[in-house]
Amino acid sequence: MVSFKLNGQRVSAESGATVLETARFYGVPIPTLCEMEGLTPFGGCRLCIVEVGEGEAAKLVTACTAPAQEGLRVRTASKRVIASRRMIVELLLASCPQSKVVQDLAAAMGVHQQRFRQEHEDCLLCGRCVRMCKEQMMSGAIGFQGRGGDRRISTPFDAKSDVCRRCGGCIYVCPACQLRCTFNDPERAVCGGCANLSPPCVGHGQFDDMQCYMDPCAACRIAGA
């Protein structure tokens, strides 16, 4: 057991727990995106940042990867944290405005607009699908590729994967494409929950702009039936 201060309150946590887990246990809300129960923490989206330390030396760290340690002083809603979080969510909005998850996060923080060049990415690079595939589906068909602006998720050589089991786990956990496959007939499709204006998989080369590795796609088959 370790004990530390969370927003001025003394809290205790199992050693090995993260700051995020402790905060959740005590009911302190911290927004998250790339974090997901059952998957290893990734620290990719930076949304869960909290301030650790005092005064000048205070640092912003991601709560989902920060281990709970004796004597920490954590603030989850300081001015600095709020301002940085709003900026992060604004950037997420700028790259992936169609994601319902991002929209909800932004709305909850009172961010209704973003000031950057609007893009329409299909992927937030949160890595959930990669970890899902590897850690829960025991498959490991997809991974990160490239770097910087070219970073993306795909199968090796962008080829149809011979280890993918078509379980759909990757699509299920994706905050950008959650239930978004509307095939080419949004009216009849089972999903479309995210109200994409244009179904992303129609008119694209396979795997190009969509993150769907299932071929044939289970959802489309149901929709088409």
């Binding site: 490991g140 068909a141 991974g143 590729q145 490239g146 050589f157």
Partner: protein
Amino acid sequence: MNTAEIQGIVAKHQGHPGEVLSILEDLQSRFSYLPEEALRFVAEKTGRPLRDLYGVATFYKMFSFRPRGKHLVSVCLGTACHVRRATLVAEEFEQKLAVKPGETTPDKQITLETVNCVGACALGPIVVVDGHYFPNVKRTTVQKILERTRNEGPRDDPNKDPRIFPVEVRCPRCNHTLMDPENPLEGHPSVRVTISFGANHGCLRLSSLYGSFTIACDFETPPDAVVHFFCPYCHAELLGATSCMECAAPMVPMVIEGGGIVQICSRYGCKGHLLDL
């Protein structure tokens, strides 16, 4: 595809830390690209998932999935070069060669690629052709670089290559020149320093061509050993305040004739270097 050859490359590095990068590097230099079958083979032999190998191979710009041409032209688009309009230089190359970055001209002569910082920011925009640095490249110099490249022999031929710039260096403490015209390396006076490693002391001569890593040494030094550098005249140790960005060994500073400092890594075999003009 020569399976035995790939097998040999894998066997050479297998079990060492960082084996993946070494294997990929060797494959790249052997085939001038990473063939898909080779990567699948490596995945099978090393037990690493193909998705990770592919991730690593796409992360580093030095790897390519298509065969490269005889010459490799790398335009730096790192931050420092970018703000000096390296994008215009890259565009000019694209137009002149009629290929996009990552592509090779149809005659298989020149491959164009863009890279992110080659460590000579002060001289940007930088273009590296077959390992040699062209400083301060402008739109207008592109044509010249291409003409020279086309007329040159294949890459890795620094001797016949008038394009690289030789530097003259001095000891930062006593200001004595370190150049040794008596014992040239690659046709230029070499840089002579004294080194010590363990109980060994001796003379080390370095090529004075910036971008060349040719050296001549009195005794055998194990790879990766960090050696101490001394001025052969005032015997002061050449020891910089910074450490190598690649391997964290101390850097060895030398003053460049005409202003500036060049720093090289003190680790034997490490190619880390810094140029400050």
